[in-house]
Symmetry: D2
Subunit: 102 residues, 4 copies
């Protein structure tokens, strides 16, 4: 049984000594290359994932680890899960439903 969800993830290293974090973020994104079944969208504030909940949680766990592999000593990760089970939700579908009402 698969459980299709949309999840937003932001992984931020703390105390790095430089205000620019893009190289860390790139490392976090690279984790996703091997998750072929997860649809991803990069936004200016997060990465949004669509797919099976268990697979996404495994990816999130690995994304959280990425900055440590680049030398970070403290990482703050926030995860928002949107899980709707009466109807399939997709990233496209959610945005179209809003736009249709504007």
């Amino acid at each position: 049984m698969s459980n299709h969800v949309i999840v937003e993830i932001t992984v931020v290293p703390l105390g790095t000594g430089a205000t620019s974090l893009s190289s860390y973020v790139a490392g976090v994104e690279k984790v996703l290359e091997k998750y072929k079944n997860i649809k991803t969208m990069l936004t200016p504030m997060s990465t949004i994932l669509e797919g099976d909940l268990e697979e996404i949680l495994a990816a999130a766990r690995e994304m959280h680890e990425a900055p440590f592999l680049k030398g970070a000593k403290r990482v703050s990760t926030r995860i928002n899960i949107d899980d709707r089970r009466d109807k399939a939700i997709t990233m496209e579908g959610k945005m179209e439903a809003v736009k249709a009402k504007l």
Copy 2:
């Protein structure tokens, strides 16, 4: 003095009796039409705003109010502010910096 920031906002009505929330989200989005100086991006999980911090906080306050005007009795709003002052940040610039490192 203006303070240019990127802010992510998600406004969710609780206890509405229907799992679909897109009509509420559309009401939240409509608030932004009059804020001509704020750049906006709709994502499947949030609205991202770029512009002056004080103006965005005023918009956020009004976005939070929108579902009540449609009958909601309880609203949960989350706001994430990214405020960098050693260098101007833009939504485009943040995403390009990550992509350049991928």
Copy 3:
């Protein structure tokens, strides 16, 4: 190898038709009874957990499921992980460090 972290979790059912959510929250809390190695703190906005990261993520997965077992059709879960590896962090320690500086 265990990785000691502090994690904040809020699990909210959407579209339930009633603004009061405390019975759902109680169901989410009950999940934690069997996780004997996780230290928990209930706050007015979340549950804060301290312990091994993998064990906490397993508990978070189960907490997210709890409202569905009570009939919810859509659940929004937010998770914030604070993972510091240069020094052990505890809930008590973090609060004392702040209070000592006030």
Copy 4:
């Protein structure tokens, strides 16, 4: 007309070069001393405020500014608002409602 809400705030400086952030957090807390009408609770992951929404948003704006006054160049602030209008909510009341159902 006052609008009584509960708001959770976490203010985090980025790129500070040290993993310990407690002196910054203490600076953020000090802002609250002058807001006599706002009830506050420090948790290991945030500060929770109870009071009038407009007053809390003014305090949040000032809390967000505090790390810059201590030299931070980038600040990430997250704010979660719980605003229920069919019934007054308090920090105590929310926790008691959950505990009564456990």
